[in-house]
Symmetry: D2
Subunit: 453 residues, 4 copies
């Protein structure tokens, strides 16, 4: 997502009670700060590329969101923490006014990190004050919920952006700890199986219960051909086979634009990988290792391959004799899973990231019995072949927050499922993430699909 | 199209008889040469931007196609006209070998135009020899048909590429003649009406009769919401109203990427337009004029607006309270028109461009009676909101010609309908043209759609 | 200087006694740290453009110089503080090995500032240990002296680089304090006078006493025409007259390359200036203000104009009916001043920057009596028209330190005189600073010259 | 030269009689047309890079010069051939008005070549008419002489620009004929000898007899150290030894900027060379061949190396333990040669290029007896280490023609001596050609110098 095209859909957004909202606000805000805790002020200030933002900027911008869209409209006697922040931490809202140029976010050494933390604390105190008033109107609560969903999106971006920054450092320093020993269950690559779905008329889009972004609506009918979808994401072992078979040297596997992109940058493997001849520590199969948020570690065969561009995901699928699913296929398959929460395996009531293994995708659990309908999502965002476009009947909400509802709906591709870095409770089967075909610093992988035989 | 994703679908391609194929071959090849006739050797050699190719290159490449894919495989005692041409005039077929770099096509002053014409003549003689043999196999005839369809695509590119070249010349010279007096019928802009279609299950894609490119297949079922579509393309008068209302200065109308693109280039109006303050001859409404293949002329209010990028078309539609149609909506609407030939108004049996008014789109004919189902297409390519993607079940053909069937299916948008510069008989309701969202040197306009009320 | 083309000339380098060298080492190193004191870790980490380096990098690189060129060769039992630093903080010494890419110095958030300070402390302790040994050889002392001169060059770069960084921040924060009230003596612009020199045979280059960089040698004979040189640098008032006379809009004043450069960037005035319409606080003549290391302040008419590119300096001179001096003219004029220290007005024995007004150039002192021979230098580096080239007989020193002696001698222009930010004692009449014609983030101004009438 | 910094020095410009001027005019103009004769209209229209211009543009611009600077001012009843040409064929004269953008000169397919030839013929007829009037004033004759000198500069550019264009064509077509057998005299590389000059006070600059450009004046005194200069330019064999010794892989030989330039472009040898592994026909030593105006031919060991950038010339000199001469050293050495015409070996009275061997530099003639003072120049332009700068006392001429006298005097280096492609009679010992350090499509080589031992 080139930042969230966020507007809440008021009718379908469930009202939380004020007390629970105040608690939820505190929890989500604290989770963001926890993510910044292992980082120094320097780590939080630097920007490794225009697509990524400094952590400090994320900390400030998410507060700016509450200050600008909630407090400015609904706090009595509103006074800005610092009027300059209105421009400095505006991401792309033309309606709010000018924006500091995105590629220069890393030059904002002042305000310093301590000031930004004070900004957060100030906004939090005022927000709690607001939420403690009797009878907060429903539309204000809805705005707060939107701000929290927005903040959760930035939680994931904090991890992906800092990962890219640390990778640019030739020392490959770890975000946190040393790589814990990863006890991977022994799952052979060939364990991947196909799940068949019959197609026909189906409904996709948000069903009206719980929060959703407007781009997930309206729920509507589609017609699908019968298709098959893999029971798990593509693994490192499977992708490595593609690399070792010369997949990055054979144009026939690639979209023309993808091939030009690959060649212009001289890519021979995924970002964050390092092979034998590239002075890494190696240790994985064929001497391959991988940079992770806990430092360099041997490439794990059974873990999902991650940090692929759309071009790489598509090329792999073609080489494998399959294709990417459409987003409708993905959603229909996810909805076919057992359980009330759909296929997404995060507990829906958790507000904070759990610690430990959440910094990298885990190998898929072994299949239980003969049931192919395992949960989908939760480890890597899965590229679909669908261009990000408005659903039929999609209507932008009026007003400032919703000003830009569809403004990213061109030249981006939809990803589904949520990743290890996505906050629990933040993803659902209808969630539409989106990035340009070149993006590979997110936790992006793929799941194969094919026409039913 | 970033050159034709061409493979023919053998089962659905009707077999022409040999004699008629020989006649058709001669007619199509002659039409190409007729297009080059008003041009000097210098005109034919220059390349105005990497997206465009020199006319001489088009003349050679279309011959290369027959030499490489037909003669090399099926001529006994084949000898290349010049072995160097294999690289020089290969567009993007990795399977055939290396390619001369696209941005440097304009530096190929040798072979000169006379040599390229001799190349054409040589290929033509050998092709006619081949076609005069008894019992030419069906698959060879199918390849010849593909080559002719390919050549017709390049006929349109010759006109659009040379138009861009002449426009780069500050003298704005005409491709041909002086602008003929355009006797436009008096059609007020407000004459545009909406046609309602009920949606539901529908079939799109090529129906199996006559030639089609593989990207039009397989024919398949889609489900559509009820929608409305305009009875004619957007006119210059309508688009000028957008310009004059400050449409190029208000980010709210634009996709975010479109706004950045517009601003980076400082665009204030469509390419080929010139306003009062820009030292043109003016003469149109508000002093606006337009560069055409017959030179500069006053902007004609009732003519379809042309040479829009996807971003501009989309911004106009949003400003107008409407949207672009999807390609399925477009095709279903076109199929609903009366007449056996669908909505496309070119006579299907004509092989050559007619002269005169075909160098610029014409104003729409007045509605006849109360029938809203007028033909669609034939004046401007109409942007749809659909990303260019494979149809369900699309399978690339094996072998050299079909090697790259889907390779352009990313970051491009589908256009429908055919333009004034499209050879008659070359377009049909299922035809899928495609270009990147930034392209505006093609004859591209739009037709509005909206959800049914 | 695109970093110091440094080699010391052993014969001409005066031997300091060991104890005085140890004291001098401590003083120079402490001065560097004093410069970083007003800055946060974030300030020290960011890099505003490839030409500039982070302060932290300067702190580390100057220590790397001593570790690599002195300790590694002359410390018994040498062990690197951190082997990775050898690459990380190597500026451009191919002979020492690979270098971290210059444009990515700002991404080195680790090692953090505290670690770099520990690195400095470690190197200092080891250096003092080395210097406390009995009988340190002369060539080692010479290397130490070179390292200190090198460090003084970086002291100036710290100020210019951080100035550029802070200017990129839209808040225009101050490096230090608030702008002290500047009590400028009332010197009218027309007070500038011309000093005549008779030319003929003269000697330029270092005369063999005291330290000098190798590019100042050998001292040699030149032949000069009679010329006149201004008694003070061009002032803000004089330069503002050029701006207000449309100097940035008239190509006749500019070198062709300078005009193209100006136009491509849309420049209308010097970097760091802000005019009435540019949302500054203004306050100076015509509403002009200037960004300084102490924040924004009104443009002071009598202060030397500073932060000009060569193109701007040259254009101003042509507009003023004069020209830039050659470096030989400059040096001969400086040598003609009274006093044993030449014209440079820094006390030669001071090792540290004094505080206060040294962060910005001061207005020239009023002329004393009729003596035109006032000191030259000390406020702004003065562009000469001389391309940076080897003196006749210049011979690169052998070995690692001197490896690249002449390697910057192309497409750079010589500046003379030293600026407010140059450490006292670091400049002399023969000192040759050099930068590309586009550079304007240094404290660069000009002094006019003309042919004698 | 980035086009001639041309102004004539009226006092020193000898007056030709009117009849001889008319004859000279005809001869020079005819020589230009002769150069275009082997080329097609397509060859004449294309532009291979922004630095180079189409031949058609040269044909038109040189006529524009006479029309604008002579006829417009001095023809009674002046009417422009075509008013649009004033902008179209203005190179860089801001005083004359706007200019067509240089990088788009290749898009000017109209006017076509025939029209430009008609333009030339029209200007010529009007010029001859003017020159046949009684009593043409001296200043008009001086302007005509300037126009002819200007045209001769473009004659050389026609050859170098078309050479670059043809080289961009993968077919490497010849400008003219096939490579004639080159009967090179057997001169071993080691035949190069050093000539010693004693330095001291000397005069350089134009001496007042015959035509000179203003940048050659005023003649003035310089002081030189004793030096030695090679008796011939560096040969292919000598330069090949540098290539084969790994000269393009060792940064120590290169200026820092030159090394970055070399590496960014991946250069391993001079432009126009082709080695064994690069699919050329080879045939020279080590399989090396060279693209020439007569096509590809084996690298000739004894011919001067040609088409070097300043960086390459400088790197070679450093590798060889020598250096480039200064322009003063070059001129003093040239003046020391026997013969009234200085060292330049072109017959001074010839107005036209001779045919045949003039399209490529020839091997140096064997030394005659013990006399080291052989002529200098005439084969390759020789890089000097001198930045292109104004001579002391240089004063730009007033008025339109002289408007930009010094405007190229930055970031360019002086070349001396004239090349095989320089029209006879056009070069003299004081002639100052100049190009940026990156330029290598001119006939540029070098001659070594060193400090006297």
């Amino acid at each position: 997502m080139r930042l969230p095209p966020s507007t809440l859909t008021l009718p379908s957004s469930p009202q939380q009670s004020q007390p629970s909202m105040a608690r939820r606000y505190a929890a989500v805000r604290a989770a963001t700060e926890a993510l910044a805790r292992p980082l120094s002020a320097e780590d939080c200030c630097a920007q490794s590329m225009p697509d990524a933002s400094p952590v400090k900027w994320h900390l400030a911008h998410t507060s700016w969101f509450f200050e600008t869209f909630v407090l400015e409209a609904h706090e009595s006697g509103f006074r800005a923490f610092d009027p300059a922040f209105r421009v400095l931490f505006n991401s792309y809202y033309h309606g709010v006014g000018r924006q500091h140029p995105r590629p220069q976010r890393g030059l904002i050494t002042r305000p310093d990190l301590a000031t930004v933390r004070a900004y957060r604390a100030g906004v939090d105190a005022r927000m709690q004050q607001l939420l403690s008033q009797p009878e907060v109107p429903g539309d204000v609560l809805a705005l707060v919920e939107l701000g929290l969903q927005h903040e959760q999106q930035h939680q994931e971006l904090i991890l992906t952006d800092v990962k890219h920054l640390l990778w640019c450092n030739p020392l490959w320093p770890a975000y946190q700890g040393t790589a814990a020993a990863v006890v991977a269950e022994a799952i052979a690559a060939q364990d991947t199986a196909w799940r068949r779905l019959e197609g026909g008329l189906a409904q996709i889009g948000h069903d009206g219960e719980g929060f959703a972004f407007d781009n997930e609506t309206p729920r509507h009918t589609v017609f699908l051909q019968p298709f098959e979808i893999a029971t798990r994401p593509v693994t490192n072992a499977q992708y490595l086979a593609f690399v070792q078979a010369g997949g990055y040297r054979e144009p026939a596997h690639w979209l023309a634009e993808g091939w030009d992109w690959r060649r212009a940058q001289g890519l021979e493997h995924p970002i964050y990988w390092r092979g034998d001849g590239e002075c890494g520590q190696g240790g994985g199969p064929g001497g391959w290792s991988e940079f992770t948020l806990t430092g360099e570690r041997p490439l794990h065969p059974a873990q999902p391959v991650v940090h692929l561009s759309y071009y790489e995901a598509d090329a792999f699928a073609r080489w494998a004799g399959a294709r990417l699913p459409t987003e409708a296929e993905w959603e229909v398959a996810a909805a076919a899973c057992a359980g009330p929460a759909g296929c997404v395996d995060h507990p829906a009531d958790a507000d904070v990231l759990d610690d430990g293994g959440r910094l990298h995708p885990r190998p898929a659990a072994p299949a239980v019995g003969a049931d192919p309908f395992q949960p989908m999502g939760g480890e890597v965002w899965e590229w679909t072949q669908s261009s990000y476009a408005p659903y039929p009947g999609f209507a932008p909400a009026p007003g400032a927050v919703g000003e830009y509802n569809g403004k990213f709906m061109v030249n981006q591709y939809v990803l589904r499922g949520g990743s290890c870095a996505t906050p629990p409770g933040h993803v659902r089967a209808s969630y539409r993430n989106f990035f340009p075909a070149t993006a590979r610093w997110q936790f992006t992988g793929l799941r194969l699909a094919r026409d039913a035989r």
